[in-house]
Amino acid sequence: MEIKQTALAGTLESSDIQIMLSKGTDGITIDLESDVEKQFGDQIRKVITDTLAEFNIDNVKVKAVDKGALDCVIKARTIAVAQRALQTQDQPAWEAF
C-alpha cells in the first residue's frame, strides 16, 4: 500500500525520534540519522519496518532523526506517522499496538 500524504511525528528532543513519511516508489527506504547508528541502527530500522508492515505500507520514503529513542517510542512514533500519512488518525489501529 502507498501513503496518501507526507506526514511527520515526533520531535528532536532527547529520547525521542522524529519520523517523516513521504511518497516513495522504491519499496521502504529509510534515511536514518542517529548518534547510536553504529550500535542500534539496524534495530531502529527493524522496528520502523515491522511497524509499517502492520499497516501494509510497502512503498514509502522514511526520514528518521533519532535522539536516543527506546523501541517503544520508535514504535509509537511510527504508528502515529503512519496513521497521519494514511489519513486514518480517527480509526486507531489497535492490532498494530
Binding site: 528532536l12 513521504s22 526520514k63
Partner: protein, 352 residues
C-alpha cells in the same frame, strides 16, 4: 512560561528589541528590512523573562536561529527550536526546508537530519524534508549513453526569452551533443515561472538537442541566491553565489555529465556581473565556463530582457520584434493587458 515555545510578534517594538538584542549578542546583526520583512513567523523560548532561543521561517527557509546554551545540555534548546519550526511548517504543508547558515553550525543542522548541499569558507546551505537534490536530479530526462556525450548547461531566468537567450542556446547547441537549459524556478519576476518556462520551450523547440528543465530549488533560487531577487551588498552576493556555483559544480554537473556552462556577458546588471565572476572562479576545472558575447540587433543595440520589460511598461511594442523570437512576441501581444496590469500593481521590472 519557562522553557515553553512561544510565538514572538516582531511588530511589537519591545519584543522586536529583545529579539534583536539577543541575536546581536550571538553575532547575528543583519536586521535589514528586506531580510526581516520576509519572515512569516518567529518562535522563541524564554527562561523567566529572558529570551534564550529563537528561530524564524520565511517561506521554506529557516532564518535567524539563535540559541543560548547556558545552564542546559549543549544542543537541547537548539533541537527544541528547530523541531518546533519544522512541525509548524509541516502543518502549513511545507515539507521541503532549507537553511543558510554559518559554516560552524552546519554540523548542528546535520545532527537534526539536514543534508548539506554545499559549503564555502564562511557559509553552508542545507536541506531537509520529503524531497532532496537527489530526487530532483533523478527526475531530469537523460539521453542514451550520456556519459560519453558532450553535455553543456545554461541557467537562465528568461524574463522573457529574447533573441539574446536564443543566441546563447544556439551557440551551445552547435558545440555540444546535449544542452540543458535550466529555467529559474523562483516566481518573483514579471513573467511567471510557467510563462517563462513555456517561452523558453517554444523558443528552442527547433533545436533537437536542447532539453529545457526547471531549475528547481537548486539554481538561482530564493534558497541559493536571494540577492538575485533583492538588492544586496556585493560581499553577500559573493557569499551566496559561491554556494550556488558549488552546488552546480559538485552536485548537478557530475550527475548529468555537464562539462561546460555557458554564460552571457552581463554589461548591465551588477549582481549578475558578480555571479559570472564567481562562476569563473569556482567552476573550473571540473566544469569549463564559456562566455558568449551579448547579441546585438542589426543597428547595434544590445538585446536585454530589461529593455523588453521597459518597452512593455511604456507601451512601445514596435521595438520588440527586433529583440524577441516570434513565439515571445506573440505571447506578449496576446497578454499585454495582464502584463501591464502586473507592472501597475508594483511588479519590479528593473531587477532581473
Amino acid at each position: 512560561m519557562n522553557n515553553e515555545i512561544v510565538d514572538l510578534h516582531l511588530n511589537d517594538p519591545q519584543v522586536r528589541k529583545t529579539w534583536e538584542d539577543f541575536l546581536t549578542s550571538l553575532g547575528i546583526t543583519d536586521f535589514q528590512s528586506q531580510e526581516t520583512d520576509a519572515i512569516d513567523f518567529t518562535l522563541g523560548i524564554y527562561e523567566g523573562d529572558k529570551l534564550v532561543a529563537t528561530g524564524s521561517a520565511a517561506g521554506n527557509i529557516l532564518k535567524y536561529i539563535g540559541v543560548c546554551n547556558k545552564g542546559v545540555d549543549q544542543g537541547s534548546r537548539f533541537n527544541t527550536i528547530v523541531s518546533a519550526l519544522i512541525s509548524r511548517l509541516f502543518q502549513q504543508q511545507i515539507f521541503h526546508l532549507f537553511v543558510f547558515t554559518k559554516l560552524k553550525y552546519s554540523d548542528s543542522f546535520q545532527h537534526v537530519g539536514f543534508h548539506e548541499l554545499a559549503h564555502s569558507d564562511v557559509a553552508a546551505l542545507l536541506e531537509t524534508g520529503d524531497s532532496s537534490i537527489d530526487d530532483y536530479l533523478k527526475a531530469i530526462p537523460r539521453v542514451d549513453d550520456q556519459t560519453n556525450k558532450r553535455v553543456a548547461g545554461i541557467v537562465m531566468n528568461a524574463n522573457p526569452f529574447t533573441r539574446g537567450h536564443r543566441y546563447l542556446v544556439e551557440q551551445a547547441a552547435g558545440e555540444n551533443d546535449v544542452v540543458y537549459v535550466f529555467v529559474v524556478n523562483t516566481d518573483a519576476s514579471l513573467f511567471t515561472t510557467a510563462e517563462r518556462f513555456e517561452l523558453v520551450k517554444q523558443g528552442t523547440a527547433d533545436l533537437k538537442n536542447v532539453i529545457v528543465v526547471n531549475g528547481g530549488d537548486y539554481m538561482v533560487s530564493y534558497a541559493t541566491f536571494p540577492a538575485y531577487f533583492l538588492p544586496t551588498p556585493d560581499q553577500q552576493v559573493d557569499y551566496q553565489t559561491t554556494l550556488d556555483a558549488r552546488i552546480f559544480r559538485d552536485r548537478i554537473a557530475p550527475a548529468l555529465n555537464i562539462k561546460t556552462r555557458y554564460l552571457g556577458t552581463e554589461p548591465l546588471s551588477r549582481t549578475t556581473g558578480i555571479y559570472n565572476q564567481v562562476l569563473q572562479r569556482e567552476l573550473p576545472p571540473q566544469v569549463a565556463v564559456k562566455i558568449v558575447d551579448r547579441k546585438t540587433t542589426d543597428d547595434g543595440t544590445i538585446v536585454t530582457a530589461t529593455a523588453v520589460r521597459k518597452a512593455i511598461a511604456d507601451d512601445q511594442l514596435d521595438s520588440l520584434a527586433a529583440l524577441l523570437p516570434p513565439s515571445t512576441t506573440n505571447f506578449i501581444n496576446q497578454h499585454l493587458d495582464s502584463l501591464q496590469f502586473r507592472i501597475k500593481k508594483g511588479m519590479n521590472i528593473n531587477g532581473n
